[in-house]
């Protein structure tokens, strides 16, 4: 509630600023008709007031954010497709939303920078030629569909895209080096009894179990054919390991919200937990030592993108294409890269960043000068190197992708059992 109010205020403020700055420039020539409003459904993390303000200024399109949690994005997309115009969701959700018929294919030829979208999404390799892990819902598996109104995924690239990638990243464990005091190099450490009562995982069943699977493989107990699509027996086995750890008091708490994870880590309630890159940055900006620890077994990656609901048409549809094209054109990409995410079109983002920023965030080089957040606050002092290094090193080290399993229903039941144990 409070979060919404605060966002509302921020947005209103940004919107006003945008209107003030934009009236003289964009409005008359491009949009003789009344301005278009796009209702943008997604998680709060991706909904920056700055982006909405910039779009208003550049295109005259008003972005109206509808912030909900990850699971609610899917629920809304499946049950109420007419309550939003633009969908910002994770790639693994495609498998759950597409069969409902509520997603309309996005025409690749209307996306101006389609050819420049990183091959991570289309072919599963980085621009530098490193092949990414394919376990789980790798974006290339769910990137294309068979037609505008299709309900099935295409097995090879077509002209119709399910989502247009916006941002993605490689996730790993965050640690408190000051409280641990020794190197951490493996996922196995998450369930190391040394950190009893000081560990945490994400309370989202499909992601939590993947972290557990990374531990299972790291300790050499079992090798999954596909961590992102387990059989019932594999789910049982993985959950048994987690249950045992929970009963032994390994976990301090489970988190489900960005700020929760920041609080747990910054207050020292946990010293090792699965985390998101900007959350680590936020802990550090509070003056608390926190490392986004690269691990030898690799990263668990995720990606999100824009989708269009079936009901979108006419001027709003055109505006959605216009917005997506704008989003890929660089300003937004630079904005995302500066937060530690990665943008879909790298070249245009690079053109919108200072060379020292690009060198720090993307090339893994020591910061030549202080690194600032988009709002101007200090993130890292000069000389710091990004945890995990360059884009190629981090994305090239992806072992698996956030996923929805075929046995999802069974997993949910097992997860409820796990919480009750």
């Amino acid at each position: 509630m409070t979060e919404m109010n605060r966002r509302g205020l921020l947005r209103a403020g940004a919107g006003l600023a945008g209107v003030a700055a934009g009236t003289g420039l964009a409005a008359p020539a491009v949009h003789a008709q009344e301005p278009v409003t796009l209702r943008y459904l997604g998680t709060a993390v991706n909904q920056s007031a700055e982006i909405a303000a910039k779009v208003k200024q550049d295109l005259g399109i008003t972005i109206e954010y509808i912030p909900v949690v990850t699971d609610d994005v899917i629920r809304r997309a499946v049950t109420q497709p007419n309550t939003f115009d633009l969908l910002d969701m994770e790639y693994f959700s495609v498998k759950r939303v597409l069969p409902s018929g509520n997603l309309q294919g996005i025409e690749a030829r209307r996306i101006k920078l389609f050819d420049k979208i990183t091959p991570v999404f289309t072919r599963g390799v980085t621009a530098g030629g490193r092949t990414l892990g394919e376990q789980g819902t790798a974006p290339k598996k769910v990137q294309f569909m068979n037609g505008r109104g299709g309900k099935d995924l295409a097995t090879s690239p077509t002209e119709w895209m399910t989502l247009i990638p916006t941002t993605y990243n490689a996730d790993t464990l965050g640690i408190r080096p000051d409280l641990i005091g020794r190197p951490v190099a493996s996922w196995a450490e998450l369930l190391n009894p040394q950190f009893k009562g000081k560990a945490s995982i994400l309370n989202i069943p499909s992601i939590g179990i993947m972290d557990a699977a990374m531990v299972m493989e790291a300790t050499g107990q079992y090798k999954y054919p596909d961590k992102g699509n387990m059989s019932r027996a594999e789910i049982d086995r993985t959950m048994a390991m987690l249950t045992e750890a929970k009963k032994a008091g390994q976990f301090r708490a489970f988190w489900s919200d960005f700020n929760e994870s920041v609080n747990l880590m910054a207050s020292g309630e946990t010293v090792i937990q699965s985390m998101w890159s900007p959350a680590v940055t936020k802990v550090r900006s509070q003056g608390v030592a926190c490392t986004y620890q690269p691990l030898k077994e690799g990263y668990r990656a995720w990606a999100s993108g824009f989708g269009m609901p079936r009901t979108l048409e006419g001027r709003k549809l055109d505006a959605a294409y216009e917005f997506i094209n704008w989003f890929l054109s660089g300003w937004a990409g630079a904005f995302l890269n500066r937060q530690g995410y990665y943008s879909a079109v790298l070249e245009t983002a690079q053109a919108n960043m200072q060379p020292y920023e690009w060198a720090y965030w993307m090339e893994g080089k020591p910061a030549e000068q202080d690194i600032k957040a988009p709002d101007g606050s200090l993130l890292e002092k000069a000389g710091t190197v990004r945890d995990g290094g360059s884009y190629e090193q981090r994305m090239g080290g992806v072992a698996c992708w956030n996923a929805v399993m075929d046995e999802n229903t069974y997993l949910i039941r097992k997860w409820n059992e796990f919480i009750a144990s």
Binding site: T2, R75, R96, S100, F254, E269, T409, I412, R413, A420
Partner: protein, 306 residues
């Protein structure tokens, strides 16, 4: 509350047959709101609990498979508990603990306010103070516990500073203790208000009479005050028990998401679009809570007492 209340009531009851239509009209707005936003959704929930579902669609049907899944393995596994039984047991335990704590505290505070605070303005002022926990939003209130009860929180630092403990106490936060603490902190008011209301109606001459008849303080409390407070206690208990039975936010945040509650199970199922099984769970929960209320109203006939 005063002596004049009773005759007016009697008049109203006597006059009722003559003005029956007027009474219906008076009740109509609330009845309609109730019908639209409570009865209809409730019927839908019951109906959906018999539907069939898969990953992305619901099919109207009459199947018991959702209920079977709710109680999957519950009989076969005995004497060890299935998830549903274990979760209900855990939820019931919290309800009981929260009930005992809020009852003792709520009764004590109400007693103080009703019998020891002399002036009405003072009573009102103290009453307002009791509502302080509700002046901020739920989430803020919950998050604020971390700096207080956390490993490096105020309580732990204080205990260590005075030498009471040598290491931080982990069980202060993300434990059953913290869950019950949060419940008590939030819901004592719901217990206190109805009890205070009952106490305020007690004819003071009854207490004088008890004293004159030679009853000790405890005897007066036990034989006069408590019996006369029964309706308040039952109403407060209904508030506290029903809120705690359905809660998932407090249990989730204060229990570090590691403690199960029926509400949480339903929420997880809803978020994965498993509406029918969530509906089945909700119907079972509703049934159990209704049974609890029925049992409580057996103890005291609230309608007569009011």
């Amino acid at each position: 509350m005063d002596g004049g209340g009773a005759p007016v009531m009697v008049d109203a009851v006597r006059a009722a047959p003559r003005r029956s239509w007027g009474a219906y009209w008076q009740a109509a707005p609330f009845a309609i709101v109730f019908l639209l936003f409570f009865i209809v959704p409730l019927c839908l929930t019951v109906a959906v609990s018999f539907w069939h579902y898969d990953e992305y669609s619901l099919q109207p049907a009459f199947t018991l498979e959702n209920y079977e899944e709710v109680f999957d393995g519950c009989i076969a596994k005995l004497p060890s508990l299935c998830v549903t039984f274990a979760t209900y047991l855990s939820t019931l335990r919290f309800a009981l603990m929260a009930w005992v704590c809020t009852l003792v505290l709520g009764f004590g505070i109400a007693y103080f306010l009703a019998f020891h605070v002399r002036t009405v303005p003072m009573q009102m002022a103290l009453f307002l103070i009791c509502t302080v926990p509700f002046w901020t939003s739920n989430i803020i209130r919950m998050v604020a516990w971390v700096p207080l009860l956390g490993r490096n929180g105020l309580v732990n630092q204080g205990l260590q500073a005075v030498g009471a403990t040598s290491a931080p106490l982990d069980w202060l936060l993300y434990s059953e203790f913290s869950v019950v603490l949060a419940f008590v902190h939030l819901y004592t008011l719901f217990m206190m208000v109805p009890i205070f209301n009952s106490m305020a109606r007690i004819d003071r001459s009854l207490i004088e009479a008890a004293r004159d008849a030679g009853a000790s303080g405890w005897q007066t409390l036990w034989s006069v005050v408590i019996p006369l407070c029964k309706p308040g206690i039952v109403i407060g208990s209904i508030f506290v028990l029903t809120i705690v039975m359905g809660d998932f936010v407090t249990v989730g945040i204060m229990g570090g998401q590691q403690i199960a509650s029926i509400g949480k199970v339903i929420q997880v199922q809803m978020s994965y679009l498993q509406f029918p099984i969530a509906a089945a769970n909700a119907v079972v929960l509703l049934g159990i809570v209704l049974l609890m209320i029925w049992a409580l109203t057996r103890l005291v006939d609230i309608r007569r007492e009011l």
